[in-house]
């Protein structure tokens, strides 16, 4: 009895595709939930993080709050919310948003804080408004760290979104909870494998994005072959 082989066989079994409980359907569901959660968390955390990073105010409160939120057990929070709002996707969605916020918040404000103070001072000195300092200097230069925050949040959310099905929210957690109830361990393992695969794909994608969003001048300064690059190739990249 090799669970590993059985799990792989379970994943490859064509009967487990299509329909409401097909692996493909559940993957899409899982991704939609995860994406929606990260999007909502970003809509909350990014403006807040930018405000903290730009003004330098509220940082201590944000760190304390983030720490507090991080310490919350997501399953406990999920059940607590579900007791209020009932069975369905709402409770896990809220619980996952709460889980995702600290990483994104930290990415947003630390991205702003990482920008050289002299650069910001210079931007202001030549006559940029506060909004222009944010939009033309802090956002582009802070982007790599923000993407890092989104990356961490996405990883956590994809992994933890398995809990959604605990209160009937759907997603890949379905295979885990169903398998546990019916002692069908290959199914549990198969569901886990798919979740792990999604997490790895997410990591790879964000790794690529993170490299792409490093502003050109900054990566130009970091690359070691700056001096041998011809002006022509630089013009071409611009």
């Amino acid at each position: 009895m090799n669970f590993f082989v059985e799990a792989i066989a379970w994943i490859l079994d064509p009967r487990h595709y299509g329909g409401e409980n097909g692996i493909d359907t559940r993957i899409v569901e899982h991704l939609v939930i995860s994406f929606g959660v990260v999007l909502v968390a970003a809509l909350i955390a990014v403006p807040l993080g930018y405000a903290i990073g730009h003004t330098g105010r509220g940082r201590a409160a944000a760190i304390a709050l983030s720490g507090g939120i991080r310490a919350l057990p997501t399953l406990g929070l999920l059940i607590l919310i579900a007791l209020g709002v009932g069975i369905g996707l709402t409770a896990p969605f809220i619980a996952l948003v709460v889980l995702a916020i600290p990483s994104i918040l930290a990415g947003a404000y630390s991205g702003f804080e990482a920008v050289d103070r002299r650069t910001i001072d210079a931007a202001r000195s030549v006559g940029m408004t506060e909004w222009q300092v944010v939009g033309r200097v802090e956002v582009p230069l802070g982007l790599p760290l923000l993407i890092g925050g989104l990356r961490a949040a996405s990883l956590q959310v994809i992994a933890t979104a398995t809990l959604a099905d605990y209160v009937g929210g759907g997603g890949l957690g379905h295979f885990l909870f169903l398998g546990l109830k019916t002692n069908d361990y290959p199914q549990v393992l198969a569901g886990s494998f798919v979740v792990i695969l999604l997490a790895i794909v997410s990591e790879i994608l964000f790794g690529v994005i993170q490299r792409l969003v490093i502003p050109a001048g900054v990566s130009a300064g970091m690359s070691t072959n700056v001096r041998v690059r011809s002006p022509r190739s630089q013009a071409a990249t611009g």
Binding site: R118, V126, G127, G217, V218, P231, G238
Partner: protein, 277 residues
């Protein structure tokens, strides 16, 4: 003309950077504020474009009280050049130079064309236009900084130790360039430095500052050198000892100038206007 009237600046932490400072900086001349750290020279400079607001007193530009002007609009019509160039690392050279015109609503294409001309003005090759600041040498970055300061064609140019972070040879080059530029462009320049040699080289009016923005002496380099107001000034400019206290020593081959240590410092030649040495 920039006029400081009884200007004081107390920072929230209680430090008094400037106390009761009054001065007229004449138009189309270079005024150099020189002093050691803590003399409030940078604070004074930053009060002109309202990066710092005075706690009391007022600053007038051509008779207009700056506190009545909108800071952003004011900064866009005053050139600002700072130490370490202050260039935006993610903007190409050309876009750094064009920053202020673009902010002022000049179409990007036109602003870039102007910026290319400015690269010529500050002695930079146009091929550098598409580079990023991190790909330039320190001296080149400073030149870009000067070009950016000039881009909106301001009447006033503020320079905060612009040549402080480059090596002595490049610094000397940049100083000569600035003198040439100033002859061509005729701006009202306010220049901050801690280097008295630089102050005497560039300044039409030199302001020597003591701690707390107290004016030790204001005058042309000639006036200050020939008649230091007090011991602080004499000491600061090195008039009593060191390389500025020169004396004539006769040698078999002619007269030379020596410093207080007796080291040869130069020779006496007829003045540029033909007067005898």
């Amino acid at each position: 003309m920039i006029e400081f009237v009884n200007v004081s600046k107390r920072f929230p932490d209680g430090t008094v950077a400037v106390e009761d400072f009054s001065l007229v900086m004449p138009s189309r001349k270079t005024t150099v504020l020189v002093g050691s750290s803590g003399s409030g020279k940078t604070t004074l400079l930053r009060m002109i474009n309202r990066m710092v607001d005075p706690s009391s007193g007022r600053i007038e530009i051509d008779g207009e009280d700056t506190s009545s002007l909108e800071p952003v609009a004011l900064r866009r019509r005053i050139g600002y050049v700072m130490q370490n160039s202050g260039l935006l690392p993610h903007f190409k050279v050309i876009d750094n130079v064009a920053t202020v015109p673009v902010l002022n609503g000049v179409p990007r294409k036109q602003a870039r064309e102007q910026a290319l001309t400015l690269l010529d003005t500050v002695g930079l090759d146009r091929s550098l236009a598409d580079r990023y600041p991190s790909q330039l040498s320190g001296g080149q970055q400073q030149r870009v900084g000067v070009a950016r300061g000039l881009a909106a064609n301001p009447n006033i140019l503020l320079m905060d130790e612009p040549f402080g972070a480059v090596d002595p040879i490049v610094r000397a080059e940049l100083q000569v360039e600035l003198i040439r530029l100033q002859r061509e462009l005729d701006k009202t320049v306010v220049f901050v430095t801690h280097d008295i040699d630089e102050a005497f080289l560039l300044g039409d009016q030199v302001v020597i500052l003591e701690t707390g923005g107290r004016v030790a002496q204001v005058g042309s380099p000639t006036e200050i050198l020939s008649d230091p107001a007090n011991d602080f000034v004499a000491n600061f400019i090195g008039a009593e000892k060191g390389k500025r206290a020169l004396s004539i020593r006769k040698t078999p081959r002619g007269e030379i100038l020596v410093d207080t240590e007796g080291r040869a410092a130069g020779v006496l030649v007829p003045g540029p206007d033909g007067s005898p040495a």
